[in-house]
Amino acid sequence: MLQRKICMLGGFGVGKTSLVRRFVKSIFSETYLTTVGVKIDKKSVELPDKTVDLILWDLAGEDDIGSFRMSYVKGATGLVLVVDGTRPATLSVALTLRERTEAEFGALPCVVLFNKSDLADRWALSASEIDETKQHGWPAYLTSALTGEHVDDAFRQIASMVVG
């Protein structure tokens, strides 16, 4: 049994929960997010040589970064940053959260999900901003919880990053 703890970080309403709801195994209700502040789900990813269970800690999206429960990140081996493509501010929220985890627990493998790619008409992020993340070495994906675009790719990517 191979498993990894992955934290999903992102601002309020970026669609982390929607991503998770659609593509992962979940036994806990979403009320955990508002009560305990975290909801735990599992995504099994088949890698060429092995299967890894990603234990996804979906941390409650908070725009108030001060109330972020850093202790939930402890022991994580990778991060999934989720950004709402229609709201540029959520990118800085995601990056700030990442910086804080780095300050606390050191640099962790990371992928960035620019979510809500189905809302092309309201897309507000420039290609350069997306490229910028890539230059940090963080793979970036334009995802859509609605269509499922690139979601599996992203989880596969992080899985390969944390196992490798």
Partner: protein
């Protein structure tokens, strides 16, 4: 070098600020330099001078700074306060730099002592300091202990009294272990269903084992969530402890976790685990840590390095204590119970029916008129036979309350007549049918008849009583009264009453068959026989009467008839005296004539009618008139010439001397109406001696020394008189007409002037002596002059004024009077009256030797009167002031009350009353003026005190001045309305005389913002 001027020894002496310089060396050095430099010095000074200022200067130049620095430091060391300040500055850094071990060793005893001292002095301080440290530790320790205790206590209590408990006691006794152990062994029913081993770092699942048939959701998610919840709790409540959650409980399910350095062991337990399970889990976790410490620490999600760890967990899973159960033969027990229940039910029903039957039979036997001869039960059928009186209760009806089914009861009854009293009674009632007036009852086994009945019924009843057989009860009819006999008695009583009635003569009376008849004579004026009936209880319908009218000659009837026929006037009263009819009073002659005729008409057998005491008023008046006239005729100086009666008017005429008695006065006592008497009198001079005497007395005014009297129709004058009077008397005697009586003055002597004067003097002196307030000490007559001396109260009558009328020549009278104060009450009274000047309403008067003051007076006057009374009491006199009342006439009292009830009210903080107070002020002004006037009339001055008040809002001083300002304002407003300001006094009472009390909670009472008025008298 001389010894006296050795410079070296000189320097060796210590200076005031010794600096431990080698003085000797320095001195020799300096001297040497001096010598070498200046030969003159060498020649002049054999040594060094005693004090050389240059030396001192040199010294200052060389070491002056060091000296001052040294003195500062030495002062610093000598002064404790400065030293402390200096050390305080360096102590913290010195402590920090010193070796911790050495410092700790050095300080330990001091700190211990300090702590001991601190605790000794005030333990509270240290407690407060340590409180945050030891409280959580204590709390946790105690909490766990209590948890354990409670659990074991609960279990023990649960089983101590049950069947199972008993069984366990036997087991404990049998195996030789303690009861508690046995209880624990059996009572804690639980099963460990899951065991999770979770990485403390990441919350990832290291290993999971589940018991057989235990299910759960994905253990990976559960373990992560558990660790998330642990984090959540830790963050939320800021718990810093290494331990995670000890236990989570959800209904029957418990999560017990044991926390190790790298991994947490979580057991999911269903049931009630013993505390010892904690130990087992802890041991297991310790063991795992010991075995796999490195692998656990490095765990990141790859469990390949931890193969075999599951076997370590194996002992934990399935740890359980199953409930002890043993098969019980339920079916057999149920069957036995059913059979027993049915049999018991049948027996019970049968027994119950028997009980009910017996109760019924017993009740039948106790019924009067029923004799149970035989009774038996055959299965569920019941039989009874016997005798029954037809009048007894129906046995069937008794079944109703017994719950016996009537269909199963078979009875056979023979009729008989019971001789029990109640049955005999019933039969008697049926056969005799007693009237309503008769009550039959049973008493002591006998039948009693009470009441009233006809003779016939009584006869039947007695026959029935005789017929009752010997064995039956006695029927007693003696208490029944015969109605007919009673009526006959009543009739006799009625007739006897009739016979006694005056004016009623009973000639015949019969009674038969309940009918009564009476006949006779009856005066119509006699009582109505019918009206006598109601008292006799006889039925009027059964009484027939026949009365023949007749005139009774009994006096009262005759009297009544006379009253009706004669109609006497109110002034006449008729009455019966000794069988005679007597008329008394006054009546006109015509009535008297009719009465006389009636008297004669009365038949011989009747009573006498006596009218002799009835008089005619005219006749009586005539008698009175004649008596009056004859009385007039007997009067001297009155001559009746004519008199007559004309109807009820009386006339008299004649002569009357003016000195004669007034005829009118003679009328009183004659019972004649003066209005009906008409008199005509001609005046004339009577020559009768007594009239002449009177006229002489009037005309001559004889002196006292002369006495006139009538002697044998002559008028005789006797005594002494001045010659002038004697002359006048002689002239009068001559004037007397010839027909008159003789006036004899021959016996009058002439008196001498000296004698007369002396007499007059004596009369004067005796008069003086009688005067109150005058004490005559001496008096004499000398050479035609009169001397008198003595004491005289200034308030006594002036002796001079007494001279007038004495005919003494005042010029010849010499009085010598010395003043004194008489203590006779009347003088005291006078003096008091003049000094106290009592008001009109006070009366002073002498009562015996006391002076009494009575009445109403102003208070001031009463005070003065009391003071005077005290002064008088020193002289042995008393002035009684107890009857004095303070002057408050009634109308003034009412007005005073009205004024004093008035209040002028103000707004808060205002000295001026509101416009709504105008009317009050107008009315008050009118009352004050009226009062002042009335008081003045009563001789007193009324003054009015205007007192200002305020509520308690604000400062006391401000309230006081506000209250005074209010009173002043009201005074000005009253003055404006015409009240004399002299009578108005003003004061401010502030808050001290509130109309209604105020307190802290309630201030600003509008009733207290006022000006009140009080009335006083001067």
């Amino acid at each position: 070098m001389t010894s006296t001027a050795d410079p070296i020894s000189l320097f060796q002496r210590a200076a005031s600020n010794d600096t431990e310089i080698d003085r000797e060396a320095l001195a020799s050095l300096l001297v040497e330099i001096a010598r070498n430099v200046d030969p003159y010095y060498r020649a002049t000074f054999d040594g060094v001078p005693a004090v050389d200022p240059r030396m001192e200067t040199l010294r200052q130049l060389l070491v002056g700074r060091e000296i001052s620095e040294l003195s500062r430091i030495s002062k610093l060391l000598d002064e404790p306060e400065q030293l402390a300040a200096a050390l305080g500055g360096v102590l913290p850094s010195a402590t920090a730099q010193s070796s911790p071990a050495q410092l700790g060793e050095a300080l330990a005893p001091v700190v211990e002592r300090a702590v001991q001292r601190s605790i000794h002095k005030n333990p509270q301080n240290l407690t407060q300091i340590l409180y945050p440290v030891f409280l959580p530790a204590i709390r946790k320790s105690i909490g766990e202990k209590i948890d354990q205790t409670f659990q074991s206590l609960n279990e023990t209590l649960r089983y101590i009294f049950t069947w199972r408990g008993l069984k366990w006691r036997i087991e404990a006794w049998r195996t030789g272990t303690s009861f508690a152990e046995v209880v624990l062994k059996h009572s804690l029913v639980y099963r460990v269903e899951h065991v999770f081993l979770i990485s403390r770092n990441s919350g990832l699942l290291i290993s999971h084992l589940a018991a057989e048939d235990a299910t759960s959701e994905d253990p990976q998610l559960i373990s992560s969530m558990l660790s998330a919840i642990q984090d959540f709790v830790k963050d939320s409540f800021k718990e810093k402890e290494q331990d995670g959650l000890d236990a989570i409980r959800f209904g029957e399910l418990r999560l017990w976790s044991e926390v190790g350095p790298f991994a947490t062991l979580v057991a999911v337990i269903r049931g009630n685990p013993p505390e010892a399970l904690h130990e087992i889990l802890r041991d297991r976790l310790l063991h795992i840590h010991a075995e796999y410490a490195d692998a656990l620490e490095a765990f990141e999600g790859d469990s390949t390095r931890l193969t075999g760890i599951e076997s370590e967990l194996q002992p934990c899973v399935g740890l359980s204590q199953e409930e002890y159960t043993q098969g019980f033969p339920w079916l057999l027990a149920a069957a036995v119970l059913l059979v027993l229940g049915l049999a018991g039910g049948w027996f019970y029903l049968s027994w119950q029916a028997s009980q009910r039957w017996q109760a019924y039979v017993a009740r039948l036997q106790s019924e009067p008129g029923i004799i149970v001869g035989e009774q038996q039960r055959d299965g569920w059928q019941f039989y009874v036979a016997g005798l029954r009186d037809p009048l007894a209760v129906d046995p069937q009806s008794l079944l109703a309350g017994t719950q016996l089914e009537p269909d199963r009861v078979h009875a056979q009854w023979q009729s008989y007549q019971s001789l029990e009293p109640q049955f005999v009674l019933k039969r008697l009632i049926a056969s005799l049918s007693p009237p309503e007036t008769v009550q039959l009852s049973i008493a002591d086994g006998r039948i009693l008849a009470k009441g009233e009945a006809s003779t016939a019924w009584i006869g039947r009843a007695q026959a029935a009583a005789a017929q009752l057989s010997a064995g039956g009860p006695v029927f007693d009819t003696s208490a029944v009264r015969d109605l007919e006999k009673r009526d006959a008695e009543r009739w006799d009583a009625y007739v006897a009453g009739l016979r006694k009635q005056p004016g009623i003569i009973v000639t015949e009376q019969t009674s038969s068959g309940g009918q009564f008849h009476v006949a006779g004579l009856r005066d119509p004026l006699a009582v109505d026989p019918q009206s006598l009936l109601p008292g006799t209880e006889l039925d009027p319908a059964r009484v027939r009467s026949q009365w023949g009218p007749y005139q009774s000659l009994e006096p009262e009837f005759v009297l009544t008839r006379l009253m009706l026929s004669l109609v006497p006037p109110q002034s006449v009263r008729l009455s019966i005296v000794d069988g005679r009819i007597v008329a008394v009073g006054e009546a006109p002659a015509a009535w008297i004539d009719r009465a006389r005729a009636a008297s004669r008409q009365l038949s011989a057998g009747g009573p006498v009618f006596d009218i002799s005491k009835v008089r005619d008023p005219l006749e009586r008046d005539a008698e009175h008139w004649q008596a009056y006239v004859s009385q007039l005729r007997g009067q001297p100086g009155i001559i009746v010439t004519e008199q007559k009666m004309d109807g009820d008017q009386f006339h008299v005429a004649g002569l009357r001397d003016p000195l004669a008695v007034d005829p009118q006065t003679l009328l009183t006592g004659t019972e004649l109406d003066p209005a009906r008497v008409h008199a005509q009198w001609q005046p004339y001079e009577s020559l009768e001696p007594q009239f002449v005497l009177k006229r002489l007395m009037a005309s001559l005014a004889p002196p006292k020394s002369i006495k006139l009297s009538v002697v044998d129709d002559r008028i005789v004058a006797e005594g002494e008189a001045p010659i002038s009077w004697i002359d006048r008397a002689r002239a009068a005697a001559q004037q007397l007409s010839a027909g008159g009586p003789q006036f004899d003055i021959s016996k009058v002597r002439d008196v001498s002037p000296e004698v007369r004067q002396a007499e007059r003097w004596q009369a004067y002196v005796s008069r003086l002596q009688k005067q109150p307030g005058i004490i005559v000490a001496e008096q004499k007559v000398e050479g035609g002059r009169f001397y008198v001396s003595g004491l005289r109260d200034p308030l006594a009558i002036d002796p001079q004024t007494l001279l007038s009328g004495t005919e003494l020549d005042p010029d010849r009278v010499h009085g010598q009077w010395r003043f004194y104060q008489s203590l006779e009450p009347e003088f005291v009274l006078k003096r008091l009256t003049s000094s106290l000047a009592p008001p009109k309403s006070v009366r002073l008067w002498a009562l015996g030797d006391r002076i009494v003051a009575e009445g109403e007076a102003p208070a001031g006057w009463i005070r003065r009167a009391r003071a005077a009374a005290e002064q008088l009491s020193a002289d042995g006199l008393s002035l009684d002031v107890s009857k004095l009342r303070e002057l408050t006439p009634l109308e003034l009292v009412h007005l005073k009350e009205a004024i004093q009830a008035t209040g002028i009210f103000f707004e808060s903080g205002k000295p001026l009353p509101g416009p709504e107070q105008e009317a009050v002020l107008d009315k008050l002004a009118g009352q004050l003026k009226e009062f002042a006037q009335d008081a003045r009339k009563a001789g007193v001055t009324a003054r009015f005190m205007l007192t200002g008040h305020s509520d308690t809002t604000g400062r006391e001083m401000a309230n006081l001045s506000l209250s005074a300002a209010r009173a002043e304002t009201v005074r000005a407003l009253l003055k404006k309305r015409g009240v004399d300001p002299e009578l108005l006094l003003v004061r401010g009472a502030g808050t001290f005389e509130p109309a209604e009390p105020e307190n802290n909670k309630q201030t600003g009472s509008s009733a207290n913002r006022r000006v009140s008025v009080t009335v006083n008298f001067d």
